[in-house]
């Protein structure tokens, strides 16, 4: 039977499990979170572990803070193999220490770098493509549907940029909200916080019109280039981008 090791779904418990596996010289067939349904050839294994901070400190001291952050980006990705990639990365990290990041001859290193770049790239795109609208009570509200779990990093970006506003960002796909109260943001389940988002502020419509007008005018017709536009701004983002949402 193929052994599947199960962790809680959060980063710390994944790292604790990986640390346990490495210390006991176990090579798992796969690692999955606790929502995983095994197939007939797979055996689920639950290990009871305390999530302890020492494990994290130890990993950071070996691979360094930068690379640790890279692993966190991988953890936020929607990639199905991310856990086992992180496992092999840390395994090699214990061997090569900080220089593991240069070992592009190892598959797990290439994958780690590729996936983390992809997640960072998506975060960067959303810093630009996210659109707030102003609700009746002056709260700014935005919806996103990202592939990866970018809400935390996006929120930390907007908590600096719009620090004196109340805002809410909803990840429609994952059903989670980030709520900011001019001091800090928290990320919660959408069921835990009810908001009505259909009543807009008085000015909202007028400002949206102004922006759409600007968008239309700023394109130079003699240079029209739709291919290029779609390359940089793929259609899957358009639903939530005000100025192109009705062009879809």
């Amino acid at each position: 039977m193929n052994k599947i090791y199960i962790y809680n779904g959060d980063f710390v418990s994944l790292l604790s499990l990986i640390h346990y596996l490495i210390s006991n010289n176990i090579r798992p067939y796969n690692i999955q979170n606790n929502e995983y349904f095994p197939n007939l050839l797979e055996e689920i294994i639950l290990v009871n572990l305390d999530n302890n901070e020492e494990v994290i400190k130890k990993i950071i001291s070996i691979i360094g803070r930068e690379i640790f952050k890279t692993l966190y980006y991988v953890f936020l990705s929607a990639d199905e193999k991310k856990e086992i990639i992180i496992f092999y990365f840390i395994l090699n990290g214990f061997k090569y220490r900080k220089s593991v990041i240069y070992r592009r001859d190892l598959k797990c290193v290439c994958e780690t770098l590729k996936i983390s770049e992809y997640v960072k790239h998506e975060i960067h795109k959303f810093k630009g493509f996210l659109r707030f609208k102003e609700l009746e009570n002056k709260v700014l509200y935005a919806e996103i549907e990202p592939i990866n779990d970018v809400l935390f990093f996006l929120s930390s970006h907007f908590s600096k940029r719009l620090k004196n506003e109340y805002w809410i960002i909803k990840d429609v796909k994952r059903g989670i909200l980030s709520i900011y109260n001019k001091k800090k943001f928290i990320i919660i389940n959408e069921d835990d916080f009810l908001i009505s988002t259909d009543k807009l502020s008085n000015e909202e419509e007028q400002i949206q019109e102004l922006w759409k007008l600007f968008y239309k005018i700023i394109g130079i017709s003699a240079r029209k280039n739709d291919r290029c536009r779609i390359n940089f701004m793929p259609k899957r983002y358009w639903k939530y981008i005000l100025e192109v949402s009705d062009e879809r």
């Binding site: 590729k114 102004l210 700023i218 017709s221 240079r223 536009r229 940089f232």
Partner: protein
């Protein structure tokens, strides 16, 4: 006139300026303010022409006392004129910014009454935005040639980036097409900004723009002008803007389409000069003053210098790696850091980001050719590269990104 009408006139009049990047500055607002600037530029949208939109790009006014032949706003054109009040500009900027439509403001202007008077109006607007609205986002302003040093100083203290457009590569063309302007007024601005630039004064540095194809200069003339400006004034960017005929004038060329491929070649070459250690003389010469329209400047260089190739991936220097078509700055750095740790094989290259179908003609790994030795011939490579570029175009892959710095 309401704000909507003004915006439609004054955004339309501003759109031909190519500079739109918002990078290079780290700024924060005060505790009750709004906004910050990221050193990595953020694109908020892409217009129908495929260009990045990151700033609210508008003119303060499209009235102008000058009569530049190529410009829509020239005095002799009979068009509708408008002027924004400082409050209107501030309100629109803040409202757009709060909704995350934009990274900030790009303010330019036609010249009303005098250069000084125009700059004063711009300063009043931007200072209102910074001090009354506490805006900490990105601001790019055009400096008006001929305005006083004092005003240049005040404006530079408020903005992230300043630019003065050189417009045309030579004084002669400028005299012909923009009779009210002269290069020395523009260079004076550039000099002043260079001498005073700091974390407080124009922190994101200065840029300029040249119009391509409205006058007779060759690519060599244009690139030499750029190279000079980069070294003399520490410019962050030179923008190249394919000339778009908006006016009829006997002094202007009549073009069917703006010279977009030429513009793209200039950007590619500019990139090579800023990041790849190329010199203009490597790319162009008196005998060869125009870029090859079929092949990008780097591949063109490689093909004219085949004797310098192939480069050995596991041994050659960083700058040699940069000369290989299909290897960019990031990839070259990866190769260097990797090969300190292990011996690179062909299979590793693709995962490192090397564009194999371009690079394969120009490299060896441990002395081995990627392609058969007998194919290391100019004609063979040229026809393959051109063919691949054609496929590349039709297959719709990202073109050189002009906004990422």
């Amino acid at each position: 006139m309401n704000v909507k009408e003004k915006l439609s006139i004054l955004a339309d009049a501003a759109k031909y300026d190519a500079s739109c990047s918002s990078s290079g500055s780290n700024r924060n607002s005060n505790s009750y303010g709004i906004g910050n600037a990221c050193s990595f530029g953020i694109c908020h949208s892409f217009s129908s022409d495929g260009r990045c939109i990151s700033l609210l790009k508008i003119l303060m006014t499209n009235s102008c006392i000058y009569d530049c032949k190529y410009c829509l706003n020239r005095k002799s054109n009979n068009i509708k004129r408008a002027i924004f009040t400082p409050e209107e500009i501030c309100e629109v900027t803040i409202n757009f910014y709060r909704r995350n439509y934009i990274e900030g403001l790009f303010l330019s202007s036609g010249i009303v009454r005098s250069p000084d008077y125009t700059m004063e109006l711009m300063i009043r607007t931007i200072s209102m935005l910074r001090n009354k609205y506490h805006f900490g986002g990105y601001i790019h302003a055009k400096a008006i040639p001929g305005a006083s040093k004092k005003l240049l100083k005040d404006l530079g203290n408020l903005v992230d980036r300043l630019s003065a457009n050189i417009e045309l590569p030579t004084e002669n063309s400028l005299k012909l097409l923009a009779p009210n302007k002269n290069q020395s007024e523009v260079s004076e601005i550039m000099h002043y900004v260079k001498d005073n630039q700091s974390r407080k004064y124009v922190p994101a540095g200065q840029s300029t723009q040249m119009i391509i194809g409205a006058s007779k200069e060759s690519d060599l003339d244009i690139m030499q002008k750029s190279e000079n400006m980069y070294s003399n004034y520490k410019l962050k960017r030179v923008f190249y803007s394919a000339y778009i005929p908006v006016n009829k004038d006997s002094l202007l060329p009549s073009l069917e389409k703006p010279p977009l491929v030429r513009e793209n070649r200039l950007y590619q070459a500019d990139w090579l000069i800023r990041y790849y250690n190329f010199k203009v003389n490597d790319l162009l010469s008196e005998d060869n003053p125009f870029f090859n329209i079929l092949i990008d400047p780097k591949a063109d260089y490689a093909l004219r210098h085949l004797d310098e190739f192939p480069k050995e991936i596991n041994k050659c220097s960083y700058y040699d790696l940069l000369k290989v078509p299909g290897i960019g700055v990031v990839t070259a750095k990866r190769i260097i850091s990797s090969r300190r740790n292990f011996n690179i094989k062909f299979d590793d290259l693709k995962r490192m980001g090397v564009v194999i179908k371009r690079a394969k003609y120009f490299i060896t790994c441990d002395g081995k050719y990627f392609i058969g030795n007998e194919f290391f011939k100019k004609d063979f490579i040229v026809s393959n590269l051109v063919l691949e570029d054609k496929l590349y175009e039709t297959k719709n892959v990202e073109q050189l990104s002009l906004f990422s710095e």
